[in-house]
C-alpha cells in the first residue's frame, strides 16, 4: 500500500465523518490561530515600540531621573525624584566638558488644558529649548519654531502638534492665533508636520513652548527647576559612547556623586531602550504563546479521542483488512495518516484564520500584528506533529487487534 493510497484512504475516512472530523479539526484550528496571533501580537508590539523609540530622533542619548542600577531600567516620570535640572541641561551644552554632545534639548512636560475662545483640548505641554527640532528630528508644516531668544526671554509662544492644531482650530491656519494655557495667553508661531500613522499618536498631539516660560510662568513653585528628560544628540553614531561618557562624568560631578553605582540619573541610548523594551515583550509573548499552546494540547487530546472512537467503530474493517493480508504496520500507518490529516487540516485552517485575523484585528485594536512565514510554517508543522503524536496510541491499538477478534466484532 503506497503512501499516496494511504493518504487517500485517510482522507476518505476523514470525509466519511464530516461533522465529527470538523469538530476535531476545530480544536486544533483554534489553538493554531491563537498561537499565530499571540506570536504576531508580540512581534507587532516589539515593532511598534522600536518604531516609537527610533521616532524620537537619531543618535540620541536619553537622560532620565532615577537610578540606572534599578533593575527595571524603565523607571521615570512620576514617583521618581526630580533630580535633573535646567542647570544640568545647560552644563551639557558646554563645548569644553562635553565636546561630543552636539545638541541638548531638555523637556519639562505636563498634561494641561489648552484653550481658545471657542474650545479647549487637553494635551501634553512640553517646555524645551530651541534645539528641540534638531534633536528630535522634527519639522514644521507652517510657521517657525521659537528661537533661543524666545527661550531666554520667556516669550509666550507655542508650536502645536498637527493633531492639536486640528482639534483647536479645525482647518483654519493656526499660525498667528492665540491660545490660553494656565491663564497665560500664547501666540501660535508654528505647527509641526505629522509623524505619520506608524508612530504613537502623542507625537502629533502636543504643544511645545520655551522651557523658561514653562518653568517660570506655567509650572512655577518649587518644581520649577526640574526637567523630566534631557535628550542629547551626538554628531554621529561613532561619537555616541564618548558623549555618553562625558555626560555621565559631568552629571556625577554636578550632583556630587563619587560612584556610578550611586547615580541618581540614567543615560540610555535608543538601542538600549529598544533592547530593554523588546526583552519585556518577548517574555510576555513566550508566556502568552505557552497558554495558547495549551489549547493545542487540548486539541490533540480531541484527535486522540476521535481516533479511538474511529478504531472501535472500524474494528470489523480492521479485521477484514488483516484477513486480506494487511500487516500490522499497514494498519498502524493508515490510522497515523488519518490522525495526521486531522492535525494538518487544523493547522492549515488555523493558519488561515490567524492570517485573516491578523489583517482585521489591528484596525480594531490599534496594534500591529506581525505574521511571519516561520510562525505560520512552524505552527502547521506543530499541528501535524500533534495529530501524529496523539494518533500513535489509537493506531497501535488498531494494529494490535487480533484479526479474528476484529472480524467477529459487531
Amino acid at each position: 500500500m503506497s503512501w499516496t493510497e494511504t493518504l487517500r484512504t485517510g482522507l476518505s475516512a476523514v470525509r466519511a465523518h464530516g461533522l465529527r472530523s470538523t469538530l476535531t479539526v476545530l480544536g486544533i484550528l483554534i489553538g493554531i490561530a491563537a498561537v499565530i496571533l499571540t506570536v504576531g501580537l508580540g512581534l507587532g508590539t516589539q515593532k511598534d515600540v522600536s518604531a516609537q523609540i527610533s521616532a524620537l530622533g537619531s543618535n540620541l542619548l536619553i537622560v532620565t531621573p532615577g537610578s540606572s542600577t534599578d533593575t527595571s531600567g524603565m523607571r521615570g516620570g512620576f514617583g521618581s525624584s526630580a533630580t535633573l535640572t535646567r542647570a544640568d541641561a545647560a552644563a551639557l551644552t558646554s563645548e569644553v566638558t562635553a565636546p561630543d554632545v552636539a545638541a541638548v534639548a531638555a523637556e519639562k512636560t505636563s498634561s494641561l488644558s489648552v484653550e481658545t475662545s471657542s474650545t479647549n483640548w487637553t494635551t501634553s505641554v512640553v517646555g524645551t529649548s530651541a534645539a528641540w527640532t534638531d534633536v528630535r528630528g522634527r519639522e514644521l508644516a507652517s510657521g517657525a519654531f521659537f528661537t533661543a531668544d524666545d527661550d531666554a526671554a520667556g516669550a509666550a509662544v507655542v508650536v502645536l502638534g498637527s493633531q492639536t492644531a486640528t482639534e483647536l482650530f479645525g482647518t483654519t491656519d493656526a499660525v498667528g492665533q492665540v491660545v490660553t494655557i494656565e491663564d497665560l495667553t500664547f501666540t501660535v508661531v508654528g505647527v509641526l508636520t505629522e509623524e505619520g500613522a506608524d508612530a504613537a499618536s502623542d507625537l502629533d498631539d502636543l504643544a511645545v513652548i520655551p522651557l523658561s516660560t514653562m518653568a517660570d510662568q506655567v509650572v512655577g513653585g518649587t518644581d520649577r527647576n526640574s526637567v523630566s528628560t534631557i535628550y542629547l544628540q551626538a554628531e554621529s553614531t561613532d561619537q555616541l559612547s564618548a558623549a555618553n561618557q562625558e555626560a555621565e562624568t559631568l552629571l556625577l560631578n554636578l550632583h556630587s556623586i563619587s560612584s556610578v553605582d550611586d547615580a541618581d540619573f540614567s543615560i540610555n541610548s535608543q538601542d538600549s531602550l529598544v533592547s530593554t523594551a523588546t526583552a519585556v515583550y518577548r517574555t510576555l509573548t513566550v508566556l502568552l504563546t505557552g497558554i495558547a499552546g495549551l489549547s493545542l494540547l487540548v486539541g490533540g487530546i480531541g484527535v486522540m479521542n476521535i481516533m479511538l472512537v474511529s478504531v472501535t467503530e472500524r474494528t470489523r474493517e480492521i479485521g477484514l483488512r488483516k484477513a486480506l493480508g494487511a500487516p500490522p504496520w499497514a494498519i498502524r500507518r493508515q490510522f497515523l495518516v488519518e490522525a495526521t490529516v486531522l492535525g494538518l487540516a487544523g493547522g492549515v485552517l488555523g493558519a488561515g484564520l490567524g492570517i485573516v485575523a491578523a489583517r482585521v484585528l489591528p484596525d480594531l485594536l490599534d496594534t500591529s500584528i506581525v505574521v511571519s512565514g516561520v510562525a505560520v510554517a512552524g505552527s502547521i508543522a506543530i499541528a501535524m506533529a500533534i495529530g501524529l503524536v496523539f494518533g500513535v496510541y489509537p493506531a497501535t491499538r488498531a494494529a494490535r487487534l487480533a484479526p479474528i477478534d476484529a472480524l467477529r466484532s459487531e
Binding site: M1, S2, E5, S12, A13, A16, R316, E317, L320, R321, K322, A323, L324, G325, A326, P327, P328, W329, A330, A402, P403, I404, L407
Partner: protein, 259 residues
C-alpha cells in the same frame, strides 16, 4: 463460461504446483497435503470460563480438493475455518500449511500467507461500504504490493469473471446480496490464491444467488484450486467431492461424495 475463467496465472504458485493443471481426483494420494491438521484443539477462554470448540481434529486436504465441512450450529466449523485460514491459532495439536508449521510464523508472515495463498468468502460478505466494488476487489493486491496500474486491471478482470463487469463503480449498498457475495468471490480470487475458504457463503443468499455463487466455486475447482466450503445445507455440500462432518469439535465422518 469456463473459457472466461482461464486465468492468466503463473503468479503465487507457493505450493510449487501449477494451478492451471487439471483437477486431481479427491481423496488420499502421494503428494504432501496442503492442509494438515494433527490433533488440533482450540479452547476459548472468557474470563474463568473455558470452552473447547475443537477437540483433536485430524484432517488432511490435498491440492485441488473441493471439501465441504458440515455440522450443526456451534459444532466448531467456523473455528476450524479460522484456524485453516491462519486467522486464529491452535491451543493444542499442530497445523501445517503447505508444509509450514503455522505456530512458528510471526504476524507479518501470517499476514503474507493470508494475502498470497488464501482467499476468504464470508457469510456476511464483509465488503467495505465506502469503497466501490473494484476498490474492494483490489484490496488483497494492495497489501500484496502489486503495482497500482496492474491492480485496477486485475480487479476489473476478476469482477468480469464473476459477471459484474457492469457494476465496477457501484458501492456495496447499491448491490443485491447475491451481487455483493460475487464481489466478495472476486476479491477472494483476484490474488490467484491456491486455497479458497468460504464460511457459509450462501447463508444469506436466495436460491438464485446461491446457484450463481456455487457455480463460481465449481469453476474455481475445475481450475485446480483447493476449496473448503463450510455449510449446514446438505444441498450446498453436495457440490463438493468430499464431505467432512463435524460434531462437538470432533470429526464425525469424512467421506467422498458419490453424488
Amino acid at each position: 463460461m469456463a473459457e472466461a475463467l482461464s486465468f492468466d496465472t503463473g503468479t503465487d504458485t507457493d505450493t510449487g504446483t501449477d494451478t492451471r493443471s487439471a483437477p486431481r481426483p479427491a481423496g488420499r494420494h502421494g503428494a504432501d497435503p496442503v492442509i494438515d491438521l494433527h490433533g488440533a484443539g482450540k479452547t476459548y477462554r472468557t474470563g474463568t470460563l473455558e470452552y473447547e470448540a475443537l477437540r483433536g481434529i485430524d484432517l488432511q486436504i490435498h491440492e485441488g480438493e473441493y471439501v465441504a465441512i458440515m455440522g450443526p450450529s456451534g459444532s466448531g466449523k467456523s473455528t476450524l475455518m479460522n484456524i485453516i485460514g491462519c486467522l486464529d491459532t491452535l491451543t493444542a495439536g499442530e497445523y501445517h500449511l503447505s508444509g509450514d508449521d503455522v505456530s512458528e510464523l510471526d504476524e507479518v508472515e501470517l499476514a503474507q500467507i493470508r494475502n498470497r495463498r488464501i482467499g476468504f468468502v464470508f457469510q456476511q460478505f464483509n465488503l467495505l461500504a465506502s469503497l466501490p466494488a473494484w476498490r474492494n476487489v483490489e484490496l488483497p493486491l494492495m497489501y500484496g504490493r502489486v503495482p497500482m496500474h496492474e491492480r485496477k486491471q486485475r480487479a476489473i478482470e476478476a469482477l468480469e469473471r464473476v459477471g459484474l463487469g457492469d457494476r465496477l463503480a457501484n458501492r456495496p449498498g447499491e448491490l443485491s446480496g447475491g451481487q455483493q457475495q460475487r464481489v466478495a468471490v472476486a476479491r477472494a480470487l483476484v490474488g490467484e490464491p491456491s486455497l479458497i475458504l468460504a464460511d457459509e457463503p450462501t447463508g444469506n443468499l436466495d436460491s438464485t444467488s446461491t446457484t450463481d455463487v456455487l457455480g463460481l466455486f465449481d469453476e474455481l475447482h475445475a481450475q485446480g484450486r483447493t476449496l473448503v466450503l463450510i455449510t449446514h445445507e446438505l444441498e450446498v455440500a453436495q457440490r463438493a467431492r468430499r464431505i467432512v462432518w463435524v460434531r462437538d469439535g470432533r470429526i464425525h465422518t469424512d467421506e467422498v461424495n458419490g453424488r
